[in-house]
Amino acid sequence: MAVFPRRRLAAVALAATTALLVTAGCGGGDEQGDGPITLTVDVFGQFGYEQLYQEYMAANPNVKIVERGTGTNLDEYSPKLTQWLAAGRGAGDVVAIEEGLLVEYKANPGNFVNLLDHGAADLKGNFLEWKWNAGLTADGKQLIGLGTDVGGIAMCYRKDLFEKAGLPTERDAVSKLWPTWPDYIATGEKFVAAKTGASFLDAATNTFNTILLQTAGNTTGYSYYDTSDKLVVDSNPSVRQAWDTTMDIIDSGLSGKYGSWSEEWVSAFKQSKFATIACPAWMTGVIEANAGTGAQGKWDIAQVPGNGGNWGGSHLAVPKQSKHQAEAIELAKFLTSAKGQIGAFKAKGPLPSSPQALDDPAITGAKNAYFSDAPVGTIFGSGAKSLKPVYMGPKNQAVRTEVENAVRTVELGQRSPAQGWTDAVTNAKKAAAK
């Protein structure tokens, strides 16, 4: 009699352990079978794919699409994605990768399906050449991701606040106010002098990024790293120039100091606390989500000071851990096709990276009702084909974080511009070495 309970106990313990291991092992997996398969798509920010999923599911009844991450910040999304890739499970079947992180992922291409093995080579003509190349590994043998959008830059502004400050409100007239960044600053000083209760711009970091990517695109073609992956944060004139212009902006008291992407930043949108924001095409969707329907028709879009520029844009990739690679690849191809890119643009505004889509009347004639019917198709699209890409080095994200934080310390008055620059360079070097 005494033996039995012990055995039973051992059996129970064994069963419990097995159950535990089995449950752990199955986490995140899909059942294989004849039924419809589920494809998970991981995104951040606003990709505008909802309508496209419906279409795709209607055309492919065996596929069910689940999306995760709309509205999340890139800083929350990228570590999660990296953990999933490192752990070998957890990632979606299709994942979005932002351009600044693409280089790091490309350094370990084994995590992703080589799309060239799945007929992607035929799609080359569907993308702007540099966008296509950005998805290729250094040796050109593996294609990690298909391009989604590019980040053509404009300047979004609040018409009502401009009117209050006695500035022109009509978009062509506003564009004429600031052919250059010094003109933008001069306009800002006028705006501040009018005491509307709002700041001229949201946060110096956003503007800094815009100026840097614009300047780098127009001159060197690289920002923190040169094309041989050497850290040039202190020797690249583009970085210094962007820094100095940003310091002028801070010095003139134009910034509302709402740390970008923070809760305060979102509140400031809602409460109309700033009048302009540097506006890559994908930002229009973010503004609409943050400012809400109450601000509909109060926003408009003008040309960005300086000359064009590209900030952001993503690729869609298929991790090797996906259990439905073939179906996932098809979905990625669909979402990045000219048709898919036009659909996303209409929904949330990310500018297509496909020349066919850019020439499509659906884009060239597109107006955005939220932004006072601004012709977003021509504002963002006209310069898109001549966009000059900026090369991003291996630790771009970490270095960018350090420099942006240095901008922020000056903006908040914690550091002088000179100290801030020293911090930026020292910390960037440290981050690059980690």
Partner: protein, 332 residues
Amino acid sequence: MTVQLDARPPVAPAAGTPRRSSGRLSRLDTRFSPYLYIAPFFLIFAIFGAYPLAYTFWVSLHDWDLLGADHPFIGAENYTRLLADPDFWHALVNTLGIFVISTVPQLLAALWLANLLNRGLRARTGWRMAVLVPNVTSTAAVAIVFGVLFGREFGMVNWLLDLVGLDAIEWKSNRFASWVAISAMVDWRWTGYNALILLAAMQAIPRDLYEAAAIDGASRVRQFWSVTVPLLKPTIIFCTIIATIGGLQLFTEPRMFHSGTNPIRGGPLRESQTLTMYMFENAFAPHYNFGYGSAVAWLLFALIAIVALVNVLILRRIGGRSGPDGRKGAAR
């Protein structure tokens, strides 16, 4: 040294009492089945506790890029680099600062609350349950709400300060202010929990001790400090150790307190970045240096062990002065 907590080791049943069916199996049973009964705990601990601990140490000896295929062995290099890393020491000071600012008032307040709850109040159970309510709310939700309350421009705290004519405080980019704000969050959540634990111990104190003290002419305050507190010593040690472990691993509150770009830094100048946040920043975004992050984890482990030891030493000293039989009384 032994740390005596609330639990006393269970009295072992008289082992080896001869049984009538004194077969070998039966003897084996009495001998080994206790081990089998506690085995599930150790099994689970081995899988989810010991193994990750050992694995983290193994990782910390390597140059381990989270996504990389090769992880070359580099010995103690991560540790030597870490000890020379000013950001690590900065995070350590932040962690200890927040720990002290939060734990000391928290335990004092808990003691005071427990003392109040120990009196004859109306609807006693209701009050006792009420102090636990903050503890059952989600940490992330609490942190987000506090993050908004302590906002620079739209925060309610600064609005109240403004009402009474004080200048707004930069809660998120002033080092000391951010420590205070985060401590407020921690205390709001944990004071009630500690109060209940202390209350349970208080109720175990025999009433005749108070009667004797009262007869000797001790006031209520005197009774509290000379009878209650000494008899609570083991419980206070328990609360302190738990608070130490929690406080030094503080992550969710400071992480969710900051929003926007790179909240893991805890402010532009790392004003309130704790060690666990620094660990995360290195092991995951934006550095993805798993080896370096693991080294931070191990030093954090060592730190907790040291601080817990110091706690015990200090508290034994304090308790040792007042009453020889303090420890026995409350341990039940």
